[in-house]
Each structure stands twice: as structure tokens, then as C-alpha cells.
């Protein structure tokens, strides 16, 4: 079955690759222009609030930078290669503005293992997610009974057709020749 999981040969020639921003040439190809774009973007109040909020819930600077860069890549602003090059300056800028605001942060470039930020951990940190409530919901989940009877229902054991009927359904029984009524 694995051989059918692969794309059809030549599918790439038939697909419209202009559907996604990252399939088109990026808007920014210059290093300094890209860093300027990201710094200007980070100066926007909503973006700045997001960066500070992430740092305050102990997200590492590397995680914040990764998410900012992924955002730009997904919008087709710059390529992945340029994004990796710009990571350093962006992280340095974040550290400066965090120092300015007296926010403690972890750069995340140390040897110790980092705790990955997942949607669930972020929700828990923000207090959106209640573990007990979820457990109760899981415990109370109703057990769906398997429908019996009807066309789409699972057949009961005693409802199965006899061997003769099954053979007839499969067309394995010789059909009777029609008799000539006039004869």
C-alpha cells in the first residue's frame, strides 16, 4: 500500500505553485532591509505586546525569534535562508528592548535542554486551560452505542444470510432457463 502514498508522477508540473506566498520570489532579499523590516514590525504596539508577553511567560528568545521569522516566511516576505541569517540581529534587538523594560529573559542558546512551547502549555500559562475541567469532560464522554439493524447498521450474528442466499447474491447459482409458456 505504501507505493500508493507517493504523489503521482508529474503532479508537480500540473499543480499551481503560485497559490502560496512562499512559492513566489520573496519581497525582501537584502539582509539589512530584512532586519530593518523586522525591527520596524516589532515596534508596532500589538507585536511589541506579544513579544513582551511571551518573554514574561518564560518563553526563550530563540522561540520568539523563530515564530517571528516563520510569520515572515509564511507571508512570503523573505526566504528561509535569509531568515536564518537575520535571527542573530533580531534576537539581539529583543534582548535590548527587554533590558530596557526590565524583563528577565532566557536567550535559549545555552547547553541545557529547552522546554518547548506548545499550544497547550501556552494556554495553561495564560490560564485559559483548566486541567480538572478537561479531565471531567473526558470521564463523562458518552459511549456511543453501535447501531444495529437498518441498511448501514452492523448485522447481528443471527441475521447473517444462509450459504445459499450468499451464493445467490454472488451470482454463483445457475440461473433457471426460462420455460416457453406457449409450448
Amino acid at each position: 500500500m505504501k507505493m500508493f502514498d507517493a504523489p503521482i508522477a508529474g503532479a508537480n508540473y500540473a499543480a499551481d505553485t503560485r497559490n502560496y506566498p512562499w512559492h513566489r520570489p520573496p519581497d525582501i532579499v537584502d539582509y539589512d532591509e530584512g532586519v530593518d523590516y523586522l525591527i520596524t514590525k516589532m515596534k508596532e504596539p500589538d507585536q511589541l505586546e506579544l513579544v513582551f508577553s511571551l518573554l514574561e511567560i518564560d518563553a526563550q528568545v530563540t522561540t520568539v525569534v523563530s515564530s517571528l521569522l516563520m510569520q515572515g516566511i509564511s507571508r512570503g516576505k523573505f526566504s528561509i535562508d535569509l531568515a536564518v541569517l537575520m535571527a542573530g540581529p533580531v534576537a539581539r534587538y529583543i534582548s535590548i528592548i527587554a533590558d530596557e523594560q526590565d524583563i528577565k529573559y532566557d536567550m535559549g542558546v545555552g547547553e541545557k535542554d529547552r522546554v518547548s512551547i506548545t499550544p497547550t502549555s501556552l494556554k495553561m500559562a495564560l490560564g485559559i486551560y483548566d486541567e480538572e475541567e478537561t479531565l471531567e469532560v473526558l470521564e463523562e464522554a458518552p459511549v456511543v452505542a453501535i447501531p444495529e439493524g437498518g441498511l448501514m447498521g452492523a448485522p447481528a450474528e443471527d441475521e447473517s444470510a444462509s450459504e445459499d442466499e450468499q451464493a445467490a447474491m454472488l451470482g454463483m447459482v445457475e440461473e433457471e432457463e426460462p420455460t416457453d409458456e406457449l409450448a
Partner: protein
Amino acid sequence: MKFEDAVKKSIKAFMQGKTPRATDEMSEGGIFHTPEYFDELEEMILGEVKEEESVDEDV
């Protein structure tokens, strides 16, 4: 290597004072956003903050 690992490696190199050499050679006047530029920016921004704090204390 995952994207996050590449980002981490890039940040680590920049923090050690390394800049993308090929990109630096390609641009006419060299790259602008160097580690030295950010050191100056840090001094400027944090210097201003310290000055403001000292003015507040004097008042």
C-alpha cells in the same frame, strides 16, 4: 537540522560576534546591522534609561 536549531545556531554565532561573511562581502559598504551596531544601540537605549532614572532620583 530543524529550523529552530538553525535559528539557535545563528543567534549563538551572532552573540559571539560573528557575521555572515559572504553577505558582508556582497553588499557594497558591508552589512549595517553588525554586533557592534547593536552594542552601540544598547548603550544608547540603556544609557537613556539610566539617565532618566538618575534625573528622577535627583528630583
